[in-house]
Symmetry: C2
Subunit: 296 residues, 2 copies
């Protein structure tokens, strides 16, 4: 197998690589050596562990990488491009010098915004480009749920503005490391409790801070099930995100990009607000976005 090029999605905690042929993915591989686990000098070896066998001797193979690998704490800092701009651009790529002469490696820069509020993204810009490749001519709002959810206004092929929410990270911290961990199940769900919590926060966002400890108290004083508490915490936090992101989704159709599991609660919450939401898988969007960046 000799790939035409290699697509790499290199985030904070994971590295995922795809050997690409004329008809799509020939092979894929990965490792837990994300950006946060590596010092600058360790990135090349971590990459070769995963893709080394795919590289033919005596020639260079184009490798396009996106995500936190291009952060200040990553392999090489790929300076942000400022919105409004196309989500990705070939001439924005950051070329990286490598020891192994078979690598023609380029890192995709993230996007930054100074107005209306300071914000940054790294990796999602490629998924946005991929979503636009899958839905050519799309104009409107893309939401990428995750550790740091992004809401993105797209028009005429450009990212106009975006906003980041720490919803996924807040859920992880509160459910696993705060006092709420005693009352919250690690798995399980309660769709009704989720919907009620989203609705509560959307209608009374100023009450959010008063609801959180109640998840603990309702397990001590009452008989709230830990699965209900889990769905309710998710609902309160996604409700708070939707309350703050209302200017993005009100009266719009929303394109969700992410894993099915991550997007499903967002789709349910948006549908309950009469907002149509279609989900595109993140992995396919990443590959489609990187494909647009290939050299010709």
């Amino acid at each position: 197998m000799t790939p035409d090029w290699i697509a790499v999605d290199w985030g904070t905690t994971h590295l995922r690589a795809y050997a690409m042929g004329p008809d799509g993915v020939l092979a894929e591989g990965g490792s837990p050596k994300g950006m946060s686990a590596l010092a600058p000098g360790d990135f090349e070896a971590a990459l070769l562990e995963v893709i080394g066998d795919w590289l033919p001797a005596g020639q260079m193979t184009e490798v396009l990488a996106c995500g936190m690998v291009g952060a200040r704490q990553g392999w090489v800092e790929a300076p942000y491009r400022a919105v409004p701009c196309a989500p990705v651009a070939r001439d924005g790529l950051c070329r990286v010098a490598t020891q192994d002469a078979r690598l023609d490696l380029r890192i995709v820069p993230g996007l930054c915004q100074t107005r209306p509020a300071a914000d940054v993204m790294r990796g999602e810009e490629v998924q946005i480009a991929g979503a636009l490749a899958v839905r050519p001519g799309f104009d409107g709002v893309i939401c990428l749920p995750g550790t740091h959810s992004k809401w993105v206004q797209v028009s005429a092929g450009e990212v106009v503005s975006f906003q980041t929410f720490m919803t996924g990270e807040l859920f992880a911290l509160l459910s696993a490391q705060s006092v709420l961990r005693h009352s919250i199940a690690a798995t399980g769900w309660d769709a009704e409790a989720f919907a009620a919590a989203v609705s509560e926060t959307l209608s009374r966002p100023e009450r959010l801070a008063a609801r959180l400890f109640g998840l603990r108290a309702a397990g001590l004083v009452g008989d709230q099930a830990p699965e209900t508490a889990r769905a309710r915490l998710s609902g309160l936090l996604i409700g708070a995100e939707l309350a703050a992101a209302r200017p993005y989704w009100l009266g719009q159709a929303v394109l969700l990009v992410g894993s099915e599991a991550t997007c499903a609660p967002y789709a349910a919450a948006l549908t309950a607000q009469a907002v149509p939401a279609e989900t595109l898988p993140a992995g396919a969007c990443t590959i489609a976005g990187l494909s647009k960046l290939r050299g010709t």
Copy 2:
């Protein structure tokens, strides 16, 4: 030195004890053996390490202990008393059998509430009783800022209702364990940024979720100082607490009980809302509250 009795404040992370004489504190001591560091069988030894030397041989000394020592994961579970009720009551004390015959140990139960929302407290009820001893006849609102802040409606010597906020724990998790840690100083302050953030959340509470990641982005894209980010995070979270606690403080004077450092930002935020706020020190209130529980 032979104390008349011993006051013990035994929380999640610390044990603090006071040898009490007719005119107040004769001696004090402490250890880092809080409830979370101890198995049920280890509590007596941990207590004797601190107070053993104060106990005369051949007689029993009354020891009154409050805080998480009485939680389900503590030494002995002291069942909650339900509000409305006086903050403490002698006949609610939970007597604990000990190996050492010199100990006459009683644990103060916490308070619970089922309406208007499930809530619990352990330890603060003693500080409330102490504040009422220091300000006899006080009717109104007491706020006890901390890891889990409490807002308490007091009337005719009884706790009528209360509400817990996870503000201190949220600040600790976000500033030390989330992605914001890269942009937030461990110490330092910016009073102007704090006041602006409180005001922002109070006037637009629905925007809270959109502000948090901005603390990171403003350090990457702009030139926000880490001390400013620290004050701003505190302001956003205390603003969210005040927005949710508005029914407690609106048009009221508030009695703050806690350490000077913990109460100062609350006093500043309330004063900016034209709410008079007086601060009482937590330690003195704990001792005053336990004093009211002594046997006669």
